[in-house]
Amino acid sequence: MSKKRLWTGRVLTGLAALLIVFAAVPKLLMVAPMVEGFQRAGFPEHLVPTIGVIELVCALVYLIPRTRVLGAILMTGLMGGATATNVRIGDPSMIVTVVLGVLAWGGLFFSDERVRALLPLRSQPEKS
């Protein structure tokens, strides 16, 4: 595996995790702009810290090397939720959450050749 690929992957993974942590912390602290954003999206206010905790857990599972693929799947579900919420109200920030999902998987794609064997095309598919 080339060093360049490995580090590209690590940078993407770090970036994706960092952005989620940045999104989670203001939710845990219930800062006003974040709470207002939830109100705009029609999300009940009492869920703000809960979503923050879910985000932190997903980022953590994704950052632990032994659970990074599971973490990427969890991040995907999380980003799907954020995207749907923004699509519903026509908020263009839906692009950001899609890009974050791509970053999360991009990180694994570059740093792990076993992921590259399965994505975006599965090499030599099983008969199924």
Partner: protein
Amino acid sequence: MHSTTPMVSPSKKMLWTGRILSGAVVVFMLMDGVMHLTRIDPVVQAFAQLGFPLTLAVGLAIVELVSTLLYLYPRTSILGAILLTAYLGGAVATHLRVGSPLFGETLFPVYVGILLWGGIYLREPRLHVLLPLTGTPVRRGQASNLSAGQAAVAPQH
């Protein structure tokens, strides 16, 4: 040979359990997608109840159907699984927002997600070194001519 590299094809039992799980998910998602296209009464009501504009029904149906077809086609089934996961995450958020019962409607898409990953997991041995725990990657030089792709279809004897 590396200990974390799967050398065997899935057993017949695993293969068929996987096919049944994946098949159930595909049938369910295709039906759901087609229903969104037809905009029959229950769909109109559900969209209203969930606060989704009905104009999004066709767009959602297209995302849903394309993701499902990618999951169905063997070459793109992992990509399809990822896209379906995001779609299902959207469904969870939508139900969470309106306060649907947690273990009923809200987590139902999570159950579907478990089935869809379970279905592909049983049929694709190369996922076994990645999920649920990811093994240490094979380092350079250790297995240069034995990529995971070749190993998974290597003869069993």
